[in-house]
Subunit: 120 residues, 4 copies
Amino acid sequence: MTTADPTAATGTGAEAPDACSAHSATGEHGYTKDKDAHLRRLRRIEGQIRGLQRMVDEDVYCIDILTQVSASTKALQSFALRLLEEHLRHCVAHAAQDGGAEMDAKVEEATAAIARLLRT
Amino acid sequence: MTTADPTAATGTGAEAPDACSAHSATGEHGYTKDKDAHLRRLRRIEGQIRGLQRMVDEDVYCIDILTQVSASTKALQSFALRLLEEHLRHCVAHAAQDGGAEMDAKVEEATAAIARLLRT
Amino acid sequence: MTTADPTAATGTGAEAPDACSAHSATGEHGYTKDKDAHLRRLRRIEGQIRGLQRMVDEDVYCIDILTQVSASTKALQSFALRLLEEHLRHCVAHAAQDGGAEMDAKVEEATAAIARLLRT
Amino acid sequence: MTTADPTAATGTGAEAPDACSAHSATGEHGYTKDKDAHLRRLRRIEGQIRGLQRMVDEDVYCIDILTQVSASTKALQSFALRLLEEHLRHCVAHAAQDGGAEMDAKVEEATAAIARLLRT
């Protein structure tokens, strides 16, 4: 998808190791530079949910509503996959360079997030 | 979940057999009487999607965003399941009483909708 | 998929109303006549699972194993969808003709089964 | 699927950098050390699939079969999640230490595998 900025990826900056933690001082994560694309996707999904409300309100046929629900769910999962890809590329990779316990924790956390996505 | 209105369920009225078709003259489907509950659910999901936009905008940690995506997907699927249950209770049951080809078509249509939900 | 046997569907026979209950006297359900096709599908899935064991045993690359897991899961879900379609066509339709509480129970039961499939 | 020219994969190091590539000379991947646990899990899943065949053969009630399908699907996904976790921990982490294009390729490959799991 996106290519990692080499300076960010090698973690030479002072704030770099923090950028992927849950408590980032800079508030910058792997997904930060694709923010606009993410917000556009989410606004489109919001539009789909409002579309569903209109469909229910106008008594549209149930099966057609279910088709639209499937489309919205798929769009949410695509969004999740992009976020996850950037997280693996930046945050998990970062932790890998630090190695050890930090890396293990990041991988466990990412796997738990994938498990939650799979369960829904 | 909900109990079928007996007059609707037995299909004695003139418009009853139409009520479940994709081109309902009356615009009334199985879910119509739970409309308010459905709209409330959808508005809550819309709020979750707007919450996701805030999270991205405020550079919240990726994993926390993914957790919220899972919650929204689960909420969408719960909505779909309720709609589907009412559809089976009213529309498929209706078709069953008419029997034959209409019934086969309704079951195939419902199964295809379930398949789409499963694939997402 | 399959077309309902009209005599079974209209429930004129003595054992017909029982055929779809959990405690069928005759041991005959909606899926009974497609038994051979179901067994063939399941044997193919069993072969896929044994293939997975071989892959692990031969140290095949993880990603290739995951691809095979996805294929097996998809095959299991296709099997479930066929079973569900026949269940709706025979058992739920049957209950619809009897109407009332029996029908409600069948629809709730089917919806719960769909929810379990969705959650996995 | 497995063995090929090891120099084609990464070239330099001993067998360690090779261990996670699709063309591992040593046939060793992240999951290799948990092989026994993986094989036990897969044999249990194989037993579940054979159980499904017995259920179909003995005309067990459809809904009970569907419940067993859900259990098998869940078991397959747990297996996939463990494999994926080890893959992230070993192979993706490895690539992260090498950095650059190799890392990007590994993350894209892992994300595509997660997408396939989600779609099923």
